[in-house]
Every structure is written in structure tokens, then in C-alpha cells.
């Protein structure tokens, strides 16, 4: 399900609207993921706490959205653009790739919640495809 030119345009248009709130989106999405899918907390046992809206979560949400921003800028070749991040996730973080779609869902819930008029079904399908392709690019170096 690769990205058409129409998908890429829709993702960039949506991103233009939400980018300035990226940090808040990241923090909220991560908080929700940790609460709604408690098994994801296992990756963060080294944090002082995993509380929704806590400092660790906010800082990490910002970092994750930085990755999403990078992906938007490299939308024409995600595999090449996210190579370093893929190596990080494959060899150091070793996050089970099944979890990428859990975070993707939470990002979309937050966008629907914060931008109900912009997160139309058309924007939703383009972003869903984009996040799926992002996850695939991130999994590239796993094996």
C-alpha cells in the first residue's frame, strides 16, 4: 500500500496544520499508548515514571514527533531517509515492530481529538498509510 502523490500531498497538508503542536501531540499520544496498551510500558522501565503527562513522557513524545517530522520531509524515500533511525530501533532499542501500529493509532486519536475538522476521513486514510510506511521503513534493518 505505497503512497500515491495524492497521499503525500494530503500528509504534507495535514502536517502543515499540526506541526506547531507536534510536541503536545507526541506527549499526548505516548501517554495514551502507555495507558491503553500497558504492555508498551515494558520498554520504559528505565524511566523514573511512566505517568501520562509526566516529564519523561513529554520529553520522549517530543523526540518521537521529531522522527515523524523527519519522515514527512523524507516522504519520497522513507527507507533511505529513516535508515539511521531504523538501525537505532533494530540494534539498540529492539522495539517489537508490532508496537509501531499501537503508537500510530494513538497519534491518530490525538489528531482527531485536537483537530476534528482537519482530520477528515481523506486525511485519515493518507496518514494511516503514511504511518504504516513509516513503520515499515523503521523495521527495515531488523533482519
Amino acid at each position: 500500500m505505497s503512497l500515491t502523490e495524492k497521499d503525500k500531498a494530503a500528509v504534507k497538508a495535514l502536517w502543515a496544520k499540526v506541526a506547531k503542536s507536534a510536541d503536545a501531540v507526541g506527549a499526548d499520544a505516548l501517554s495514551r499508548m502507555l495507558l491503553v496498551y500497558p504492555q508498551t510500558k515494558t520498554y520504559f522501565s528505565h524511566w523514573p515514571d511512566r505517568k501520562p503527562g509526566g516529564e519523561s513522557v513529554k520529553k520522549h513524545g517530543k523526540r518521537v514527533m521529531g522522527g515523524v517530522a523527519l519522515a514527512v520531509s523524507k516522504i519520497d524515500d522513507l527507507t533511505a531517509g529513516l535508515l539511521e533511525l531504523s538501525e537505532l530501533h533494530a540494534f539498540q532499542l529492539r522495539v517489537d515492530p508490532g508496537n509501531f501500529k499501537l503508537l500510530a493509532h494513538c497519534i491518530q486519536v490525538v489528531l482527531a481529538n485536537m483537530f476534528p475538522n482537519d482530520f477528515t476521513p481523506e486525511a485519515h486514510v493518507a496518514l494511516d498509510k503514511f504511518l504504516a510506511n513509516l513503520a515499515l521503513a523503521l523495521s527495515e534493518k531488523y533482519r
Binding site: D28, S31, R32, L35, V36, P52, H105, Q108, V109, V110, A112, N113, P116, F119, P121, E122, H124, V125, D128
Partner: protein, 131 residues
């Protein structure tokens, strides 16, 4: 058996008590058909689903849905409708997104967790009578 706290029960009751089924239902279903187009395979008889606009204005989509017990609904979906149970999760995710858009700041992480737990139980119940 799934266990529910008093707080979870009250969150679910409150969400559904304030829900406009005639608005949220068609919105969630049409979003599912747009975001996951392969789900349209189950609605071939509904007429024009050719693009997002057609789906959103299709009267059959808007009218879709009846009430029954979960056992009956499960048998209906497996024996008569032949719906792949993976699709239930897709619709559940679209419903979560529509509710998130409607409820704004009231849709806190805790409320989302409770709502998704409820939908997971419904999805499981719908899948139970498949063989």
C-alpha cells in the same frame, strides 16, 4: 470473564448516554469504508461506494445497523455475512477516532483506555461464534 470497575462502568454509560447514534454510527462506518477500502467487500449491495463523497452521502450506509443479542450478532456475522473478524477491529478503531473527534478534551487517556477495553470485549463477543 472481564471485570469492570465502577469508574469504568460510569465512563461507558456516560459516553453512550450522550451519543447521537444516528450521527456517530454512519460517521464511523463511512470512515472505516474510506480508510480501509477492502471492507467495502461486505457492502456491495449498498450501491455507489466509488469515492469518499459517495460513501459519505450513501443512504444505505446511513441507515445501517439493528439491535440484537451478541450471540445472534456473532452468528449473523459469521454464517450469513461471512465477515472476517479482523474487520471488527478496524471498525472499532474508526469508532474510537470519531468519538475522540466529538468529545474533545473530555476524551482523556483514561476514558480512551476504558472505551477501547469495552470495544475489545464487543469485538471478542462478535468473534466468539465463528467456527
Amino acid at each position: 470473564m472481564v471485570e469492570w470497575t465502577e469508574q469504568e462502568r460510569s465512563i461507558i454509560t456516560s459516553i453512550f448516554g450522550n451519543l447521537d447514534y444516528n450521527d456517530v454510527g454512519p460517521k464511523a462506518l463511512s470512515r472505516c469504508l474510506i480508510v480501509y477500502p477492502w471492507t467495502q467487500r461486505y457492502f456491495a449491495s449498498f450501491g455507489n461506494l466509488y469515492n469518499a463523497e459517495a460513501i459519505k452521502t450513501n443512504p444505505n450506509i446511513a441507515a445501517h445497523g439493528t439491535k440484537a443479542t451478541y450471540a445472534e450478532l456473532s452468528v449473523l456475522h459469521s454464517e450469513k455475512l461471512h465477515v472476517d473478524p479482523d474487520n471488527f477491529k478496524l471498525l472499532a478503531d474508526c469508532l474510537t477516532i470519531v468519538i475522540a473527534a466529538k468529545m474533545g478534551s473530555a476524551f482523556s487517556p483514561e476514558v480512551q483506555a476504558t472505551f477501547q477495553k469495552f470495544l475489545a470485549v464487543v469485538v471478542s463477543a462478535l468473534g466468539r461464534q465463528y467456527h
